[in-house]
Symmetry: C2
Subunit: 172 residues, 2 copies
DNA sequence: GCTGACATGTAAGCAGTTACATGATTAT
DNA sequence: ATAATCATGTAACTGCTTACATGTCAGC
C-alpha cells in the first residue's frame, strides 16, 4: 500500500480536491495511515500525468479555487491492481514500547509518567473512534465498522493492561 | 526515536556486532520496530565516526571475523538525550485496515479471505510473544514484560473482534 | 487586528529500504 | 550438493516529511 493507492481509492467515493483528501485522511484513516499535503499534492500531479485521474478547476465564491480530481476508468483499473496484491504486513513503530524496553535506565518516576501519558493518549483515541461510530452510524458499511471496532478493542485492551501494570508499579 | 537511538540503546546491554544487533531487533523489537542490515551497518559506521561507540575486531574460529562495538561515555550521554525527548506518537500503518475500508469494492469472498488471513497472522504473533514470555521468564524486567503484555492483549482483542465480525459476515 | 479555516504548491532533505556483492562454515 | 547460518558492506533508489511560500475570507 502506497500513498498513491490510498489517494486513488479515496477518489472512488466522489471527486475531491487535495484539501478534501487530507480531511478524509484525518477523519477516517488517521489511526492506521498518515498522509501529508507534501505527499498528496505531488501524488495528484503524478496521477493526473498518468491519466489515472482528471482535473477540473472549480471556481468558488468566498473561497479559493479548487482543483477537483475525478478517477478515470484507467484509474479504477490501477486501483483494482492494488486490491489484487498480497496484503502487506502491518507496521507498528512505537516509541512508547521502545522506552518501556529501555526503562531500566530511567527512574521509576519517569517510567510512571510515560505510562500515565500513554494511557491518556489511548483513552483520547478510543473516545475519538467512538465519536466516529456515532457520527457515521448511518451510511457506514460493515467493513468500515470493522476498522473502527478493531481499533477500539485494541486500544481498550492496551489501556487495561497498562492500568494493571501501573497499579503494580505503584504498589512495589 | 530513530534507528541510531535504538542501536545505541541496544549496545548498553553488552558489546555487539551489527549481526548481533539484527538478531536482537528480530527477537525483541520486531513487533514495534523494524531495522534492516542496510540501516544497521551504515549507522554503526556513523556512530563510530562520532565516537559514540568504539570498534574492536574479534577474530573467530570457524566463523567470519566480527566487528564488535561498545558504547562510549559520549554514547551514553547521547542515549540519555533521547530518553529526555518527548515520547513520539505511535505510528501504525495497516494495509489490512485499509482494505477493510475499501472492501465495498471487492467480493464478500475476498473480504472473508482477508479477515481469515489476518486472524491467522495475529494468532501467530500472539504465540510468538507468549513463547518469549516463557523463554525470558527469568531475567526479564517489569517494563520489558509490559512490552510483551501490551502486545499480547492488543492482538488478543483484535482477534476476538475479527472473529465476531467473521461470524456475522458468514451468517448474512 | 488576528486567528483559523480554506486552498495549493515546491524544494531540499532524510531515514531508511532493496538489491546486490562476497565468502566461510555447518548441517542435511 | 545445497541450504542455512554467520558475517559485512555499498549504492541506488524511494517515498515520504519538513519547511517554506502565498493568498483569501470569516469570525471573534
Amino acid at each position: 500500500m502506497k500513498g498513491r493507492d490510498v489517494v486513488l481509492g479515496t477518489l472512488l467515493k466522489r471527486p475531491m480536491s487535495g484539501y478534501d483528501i487530507k480531511l478524509v485522511f484525518e477523519d477516517v484513516f488517521s489511526y492506521f495511515f498518515d498522509g501529508s499535503f507534501g505527499m498528496i499534492y505531488p501524488t495528484l500531479r503524478q496521477l493526473e500525468k498518468e491519466e489515472l485521474i482528471s482535473k477540473e478547476v472549480v471556481i468558488q465564491e468566498g473561497k479559493p479555487n479548487k482543483n477537483v480530481y475525478s478517477i478515470t476508468e484507467k484509474g479504477r483499473e490501477e486501483f483494482n491492481k492494488y486490491l489484487e496484491e498480497d496484503v502487506q504486513k502491518e507496521v507498528l513503530c512505537s516509541d512508547f514500547l521502545m522506552r518501556m524496553y529501555f526503562s531500566d535506565y530511567v527512574e521509576k518516576k519517569k517510567l510512571i509518567e510515560w505510562i500515565e501519558a500513554e494511557i491518556m493518549e489511548k483513552k483520547k483515541s478510543v473516545k475519538q473512534l467512538q465519536e466516529k461510530q456515532l457520527v457515521w452510524a448511518k451510511g457506514i458499511t460493515m467493513s468500515q465498522k470493522i476498522c473502527l471496532d478493531v481499533g477500539i478493542s485494541s486500544y481498550v485492551a492496551q489501556i487495561q493492561t497498562l492500568e494493571e501494570k501501573l497499579l503494580q508499579l505503584k504498589q512495589e
